[in-house]
Amino acid sequence: MSISTTSTSDRAGTPAAGDILATAREQVLERGEGLTQEQVLEVLQLPDESLDDLLALAHDVRMRWCGPEVEVEGIISLKTGGCPEDCHFCSQSGLFASPVRAAWLDVPMLVEAAKQTAKTGATEFCIVAAVRGPDERLMAQVAAGVAAIKDAVDINVACSLGMLDPDQVTRLAEMGVHRYNHNLETARSYFPNVVTTHTWEERWETLRLVREAGMEVCCGGIVGMGETLEQRAEFAAQLAELTPDEVPLNFLNPRPGTPFGELEQMSGPDALRTVAAYRLAMPRTVLRFAGGREITLGDLGARQGLLGGINAVIVGNYLTTLGRPAESDIDLLGELQMPIKALNETL
């Protein structure tokens, strides 16, 4: 895998102007070829009046290339707060005056959370730690936790433990961790405005190792952190180049005490346009609604997103903030006649 800084527009040879929705219908819906960076930008620049048509097209693309199933996941923070990194959006950095204090979860609590998650019908359970990368103590805790969950619950276990070295990647794969999350967070060109304690390229290297070890790659980011629309399109193209199995899409929820704590929340139409644009850039990926959707889109957002390109949700609470009640999302899936993806389809 290589990091390319060139545009991917040559790949498609599409017209520079014209009706981007008609182009996307032919290119993405019919042929399954994702939009290029320039085309994603055109989508992000569409007026609000085109939003319904855009969401309908993104939904058609998702149904055609992914099907009606929705992947449901629960996430849990194994180690909260006190992180040495300075991601400007994050309340778990120990470098900011955030009210979040450091906490560790024990293995029985981890197993209980996995059991409760599985009861909703979820097939994914992601163990997350606020660290630059795991030390031996954390690796041992993860090993014990994964083994205990696998003994007690039928659920896929994923992890998100920061940057990994080759030995740690191998050990996680051997534990049976089937997917690893590591977000690139934002466009490569905007990353230095968001994080200064490590680089985008370091994150990319971990993702390369994860794929090499045979684990599924989960990689997304946060939109609404002050990036331009051009950078939002750049990020979509960079993710498409990575071809992740899953893309979690977060919307900035400005956290008190962080450098981004006073940024404005992005508007609902902007958030939905981004969902649809990312679906059109990556027609086959699992595109997951992640943090910030409740405050950005409200209760209606779950429905609009699921009918606008989303095919995966995090149910219940997030790592440090609360989400919609799990039943609300599960009931909505029933109402929309979108079955929850079964465990045997994901293994």
């Binding site: 909260t80 204090r101 450091a102 409760q116 609360l322």
Partner: protein, 68 residues
């Protein structure tokens, strides 16, 4: 005025740790639906908070634990 967190009289705002009687807690109030408490409502100490998929627990070193 800030509302009390579970199990305690709200002398202090559980979101910002400021005295509840002070004005200016509108943002805290709107935050509260999607945030666990962060400060002990009795003494304003920062609490150790653990969020799980279906609830939260918050522990003050002086006043003990509350949960959702």
């Amino acid at each position: 005025m800030a509302e009390p967190a579970a199990g305690g009289a709200a002398e202090f705002c559980d979101q910002c740790g400021g005295p509840s009687v002070d004005v200016g807690h509108e943002r805290c109030a709107s935050r509260r639906t999607l945030e666990p408490p962060r400060f002990c409502p009795q003494c304003a100490r920062r609490m150790v908070v653990q969020v799980d998929p279906f609830g939260w627990t918050a522990r003050c070193s002086r006043h003990g634990e509350t949960h959702s």
